[in-house]
Each structure stands twice: as C-alpha cells, then as structure tokens.
Amino acid sequence: MSFTLPQLPYAYDALEPHFDAMTMEIHHTKHHAAYVNNVNNAIAGTPADALSVEEICKNIKDYPVAVRNNGGGHYNHSLFWSILSPNGGGKPSGKLASEIEATFGSFEQFQEKFNAAAATRFGSGWAWLCVNGGKLEVCSTPNQDNPLMPDTGCGGTPILGLDVWEHAYYLKFQNRRPDYIATFWNIVNWAEVERRYAELV
C-alpha cells in the first residue's frame, strides 16, 4: 500500500505574510511529493509496504537509508502542514499549557528553548516538541530523522515540529533563520498540537 501526498488544509498563500506562497507551493508539490514518490519506490514489494509510516520510523534500523530519508521526510512534512494554520498563533491552552509551564517555567521559556534548538541545528534538520515517557521535551534531529526513530538523541512522539532545512525558508529569509523561527510562532495551530498531546497522555 503506497503513501499519498496529503492535501494542505489551506491555500498556498494562506500563511502569508509569515510563510510565503511560493515556498509553500514548492515545499509541498516538489519536496514533500518527492519524499512520497521515493519512499513508495523504496518499499514497493517489501514488508514495509504494509506498515504505517510511524511503524516504519519506529523500526527504521530494519530498512535501508532510502526509506529512512524519504519515509522520515514524508512523516515530518505531514506533521508540519497539520500544525500550521492561517488562524494560528497565540498560546496553547488547557493541559498542554499547564504542562509547558510546569516543564519549562513559562511559555516564553519554552519558546526560547525551541528557538535555540531550531537555530543551532547545523545543516539540515528539524526542531521538535515531543512527549517522551509522559514528559515534554525539546530537541532537534538532522536531515529527515525524527524522534520516533531510535538513537537520534530525541525520544518520544513529536506534537510540534519546525523544518529548518534551508528550502523551508530561503526564498523569503535567505540566511536569516532566526527571523524564520520567530515568524513561525504566528501560525502555530495550537488546537492541533493540543489534540496530538491529548492522544498521548
């Protein structure tokens, strides 16, 4: 059973002026689409063909690097589109909000940690907020790895992620990754992040 490119829940220009329309279109139709095609080719006719992308990631050591890179890319981008929204921004509420406060001291302190993880990931990769053993953690992974994969230095299940590959921000921000990270907070879909959190605790 092959994976399909999920439709975005909003138009390519819906996240303007924060994320530009051209980047959203290329990111979705070229980068993410390529990961989907490549992972399908890599797993065709193999036992991985019957698994969800989450199951593949959790057992990534069983699969060749093409599955890691492209399966990871498919999982990561699918999560990413879902946690962005033109109506996003602001702060989380409910259990997630209190847990962020309890873990990091405040929402602002959580943002600082997340910003640092995103800014200091050298080369390509992702920054994550995860639930690991019931606890919230911030970390980053290289390339298209994610916390579901063992031995990445990140554990648990991500509920929020930020793509820091240059393709995610270069057309609008060029080298100014910190500006891209700052603007991200304007479009975080906290309702979706809270929904993912509720599923795990």
Partner: protein
Amino acid sequence: MSIKSLFIAVLAISFVQCKSVAQTTAVVETPAKESIHKFAPLPYSYDALEPYIDKMTMEIHYSRHHQAYYNNFMAAIKGTDLESTPMIDIFAQMSTHSVAIKNNGGGYWNHEFFWNVMIPGGASEPTGKLADAIKESFGSFEEFKKQFADAGAKRFGSGWAWLSVAQDGKLFISSTANQDNPLMNTETLRGTPVLAIDVWEHAYYLKYQNKRADYLAAFWNVVNWDVVNQNFEQAVR
C-alpha cells in the same frame, strides 16, 4: 544571543582583561599577534558567474554565509595556538577539536576553496596530467562529470561533493556532510581536494529551488580547470 553579539562579547571581555592588567602592573603591552587566518575578498564581482550562479546568491553566499563561518571560526579559536596553525594542520587533528571549530573552520576553508575553482576565465576542460589522471580513474571526462554530479545529487541534506587526490596519488570522488571536507581526519575517505561543489540549499535555492540537478549541470560552465590543475599539481607533488 546571536553569534554576532557573542563574538562582540568575547572581544569586549578580552579588551577588559587586557586593560585591567595594564592598570595594575603598569606594563606596556605589546599588541596581540594577528592570526594567520584572513577573510579573503571574493576574487571576482558578484555577477561574474551569471547566468549559471546568480548575483544575489553570490552576494549572500559570500558576505553572509561565508563571512559568518569566518567570524565564528575566529571566535572559536581566539586566544589559542590555532590562530597561528595552518588550516590543513587543524583539519589533520580535527578529531581533537570542538564541533564549533569543525563546522566553522570547515565552512571558512571550503567556501574560499570553492570561490577559487570558479574564477572566470581559465581552461574549460582539464588538460595535461590532470586530464590523463581523470581518464585513468574514470574512463573519460564525461564519465567523471557524471559521477561527480551523481555524488552531489546523492548527498542527502547539506554538504559538498569533492574530487580529491588520495595518499596513493589517485583521484577519487566523494561527498561530505555539512561543512566537513576530505582533509579532516574524521573522514573515512581522506585526500587533498582539487575540485568542489557546495550542495547546501543556500548555494542554489534562489535560482534553482529544488532543482539541484540543474545547478549541478550548470556548474561545469563556471569551473576554471587551470585552478583545478594547479590544485592537482600541488596535491601530487
């Protein structure tokens, strides 16, 4: 704290320390020895590689990315003997150095090397001993170009593709992650680079977006084979 403000803070702290020593001991200080590591000017104007590599990319690539690697590298080695250690020796001992020195020292050296293999003018094909070596190692110049472009295309994430001379004098193609290079003792495939291409997305995204293959193909239009030949002759000496 931004890297720039950290660098300025490091400088400021050094200045304060020097000042307080002078006040307590009334010793005339000799100025600190300048580092051997300089940030070289780009050898040509930003638009010199048009239409293959666009002016805006060259400007941002040199004045922001490369400049930042230099600044961060200098901050990382400040006050250490690495200020007067040649890069090749730093790379030979890379396993003993910090991640900051690896990432930024690599970035500093790699980009200067890259600008030089693209100096406009020069031969558009390899000649002499280099041409023979390429034929011997790869079968033909066309096959070499295919394999080199392939190495660049297959490097997942950020990194570089290289043509290098190994210890035994033979040419080989490899790719490295991030700002690593074949001179570093942390690499499995070690050698002296003679040709390189940056495949970090910042090297091509403004003009080519996801089409890295088009950028790899265009690169052959800007390679200065006289420089590559010089690199080769120095490497096999």
